[in-house]
């Protein structure tokens, strides 16, 4: 997840996070309406996709194969005559799952590692830093290949690989916030009141790094969706006939000369979602008053 790592690297953390008076949603709506629109559409499609999809996601009808966009199939059909719009709505749900798995694995593992490393320092910090340094930027596809070779190709297995690759991003940001907070007055006060180091980390330090973690989650969520598409495209992720952006693009590649529409519509949809999350990450960085170095 080097790209997101790079975004994280650009952020100089201002800790503890001082909130603006304005509410977050109001700020986002003013700062980056496009991000809010795209992400809202994505989440809506992910949750309500199966309810609002005009046709079946998996029902095939070869007499309707490879239709361009038209009145009853707004985005056309694929090589097996399945409705592309319905399958894109289904893919949004898969993408949301991918994002959730990656952010949960990366966030929980990474934040705890970073919190402990930055908060306790010393040998713990050294070990955690070295391990994350090694993981940092390690080719995600290789991790996915190893995991899929051990288990089977599936969305969860592919996303576990991406989640592991995301751990350093979260760990790094959590560590740097924890280090900055280590000797602040309120932490020392808690220490003076007799709170143990672990308790301080959980009750004092952790709440102050929620903002930075949300920002990383937004960038890594975008990366998760990109990797879901890439790994499913390679056949390591979601398996047919289930829809996913990657598996649809895999189908699309076989029919590029008869039905280029399929590649175009699916690619635009997945790019729009990723763009929305990246813009959201940028806007959240501003909201939490993080400035680019």
């Amino acid at each position: 997840m080097t790209e997101a790592a790079h975004s994280a690297g650009e952020i100089a953390v201002a800790a503890p996070v001082r909130r603006r008076r304005q509410g977050m949603l109001a700020y986002l709506a003013r700062r980056s309406p496009l991000a809010l629109l795209l992400v809202t559409l994505f989440l809506f499609a992910a949750v309500f996709g199966p309810l609002i999809s005009p046709h079946s996601m998996t029902e095939t009808d070869l007499s309707l194969a490879n239709l361009p966009p038209n009145g009853s199939y707004w985005l056309g059909t694929d090589a097996l005559g399945r409705d592309v719009l319905s399958r894109i709505l289904g893919s949004a749900g898969v993408a949301a799952q991918a994002m959730l798995i990656v952010v949960l694995i990366g966030g929980i593992l990474g934040a705890s590692l970073g919190l402990v490393a930055g908060g306790l320092g010393g040998i713990t910090d050294l070990i955690v830093s070295r391990v994350t340094e090694i993981l940092q930027g390690f080719p995600t596809v290789l991790i996915a290949i190893v995991i899929v070779a051990l288990l089977t190709p599936s969305l969860t297995n592919a996303m576990v690989a991406v989640g592991l690759a995301a751990v350093p991003d979260f760990a790094r940001i959590a560590r740097s916030v924890a280090i900055q907070l280590r000797d602040r007055e309120f932490i020392q006060a808690a220490r003076g009141l007799g709170a143990g180091e672990l308790r301080i980390l959980v009750t004092e330090t952790l709440p102050n790094m929620i903002g930075p973690l949300i920002i990383i989650a937004s960038f890594d969520g975008a990366q998760a969706i990109m990797w879901e598409a890439a790994l499913s495209f390679l056949g390591l992720g979601v398996q047919p006939p289930a829809p996913s952006f990657g598996s649809m693009l895999r189908d699309a590649q076989n029919y590029l000369n008869i039905n280029p529409w399929l590649a175009v519509t699916v690619g635009v949809a997945v790019s729009a979602i990723i763009l929305g999350l990246n813009l959201l990450g940028d806007a959240l960085s501003d909201y939490y008053e993080m400035t680019e170095r």
Binding site: H6, P139, V141, V146, A149, A230, L234, A252, A263, L275
Partner: protein
């Protein structure tokens, strides 16, 4: 200096050990008994056990890892379960295509990104900066392999000027070879460029705020001299490290691009091995790719400390 290099080399060595363990256990723990596979329909429990003993599969895992590591160091990566050819030979045959693709793509990405990033850092207040940086964000958000599919639609399906696949090895016909690599290289370069541009822009912008740039300006240096004499060299140093970190992305990207354009490189070898459960080949590909990643990053670290003495005292 010697201490720094020693520390880095030891670190790289430990990483390589971890990577080799990863490659070994990924296949040793995989379902399916190699002895049973080897015996096929001649397998009986007694025979499987005999072959297990013969192949050393009855030994505990750490012992097997040790034996495997010794074989690897001697250059023996085993044979493919499918073609029965030596894995090392398969990888050796696939590596040139991958290295050529990766090198060309990286070259294109660097040649485009560095000037563009410097320009964007210099012209931060211009009216065309907003659309341009919007374009960079868009570039980061577009899946690289999708760009590859679009390039095929445009240049192969519509314009019929470039092939959508069919790699020609460089030693057979260099012209045809380069022609067959135009779209793959473009795809991988477009994938790498936006984040590199963004990095160079941020790095150069921070160099532009340094005191020595003000000093140069006060001494009457023109913008050309400031950018090329002061900003570019100081930006390049951190950019080299960044490219080292991007190497993982380059490897991942090369694997995907090889699959799209049917380039017989190491990525395609690995992918077909995964889908066919050809474990020795998976093991070899993961080992070689990961070793390449670790070694190049180590070299980047060392080069970095040679170029910029500030690193060592950090």
């Amino acid at each position: 200096m010697a201490g720094y290099i020693f520390g880095r080399v030891i670190g790289g060595f430990i990483t390589l050990l971890c990577v080799s363990a990863l490659a070994f256990f990924a296949t040793a723990l995989a379902p399916g008994n190699p002895a049973a596979v080897l015996l096929g329909n001649m397998a009986t429990p007694e025979r499987v056990e005999a072959v297990n003993r013969l192949m050393g599969l009855d030994q505990p895992l750490p012992v097997r890892y040790g034996i495997w590591l010794r074989e690897v160091l001697a250059g023996n990566l085993g044979n493919s379960n499918l073609s029965f050819r030596p894995v090392l030979g398969l990888i050796g045959a696939a590596l040139p295509a991958t290295l050529e693709l990766a090198a060309l793509s990286l070259l294109v990405a660097v040649v485009v990104s560095i000037p563009l990033g410097l320009l964007m850092a210099h012209k931060q207040a211009s009216w065309w900066m907003r659309p341009l940086s919007g374009f960079v964000t868009l570039g980061i958000s577009v899946p690289g392999f999708w760009v590859g599919l679009l390039l095929i639609v445009i240049f192969s399906v519509w314009l019929h000027i470039l092939p959508s696949g069919g790699f020609v090895p460089a030693n057979r016909n260099l012209g045809q070879n380069l022609r067959s690599l135009v779209l793959p290289t473009l795809t991988l370069a477009i994938y790498l460029t936006p984040s590199l541009v963004r990095f160079v822009r941020v790095a150069a912008a921070s160099v532009l705020r340094e005191d020595y740039v003000d000093t140069a300006r006060a001494k009457g240096a023109g913008i050309g001299r400031i950018m090329f004499r002061h900003v570019a060299p100081n930006t390049l140093i951190s950019t080299i490290t960044y490219i080292g970190l991007q190497l993982g992305l380059l490897i991942s990207g090369a694997i995907i691009v090889e699959v799209i354009f049917a380039i017989p490189g190491i990525g395609r070898l690995g992918m077909s091995a995964v889908l066919n459960r050809d474990y020795p080949v998976i093991q070899g590909v993961v080992l070689v790719a990961a070793t390449g990643y670790v070694v190049v990053n180590l070299l980047v670290d060392l080069a970095y400390s040679l170029i910029d003495p500030r690193v060592r005292v950090r």
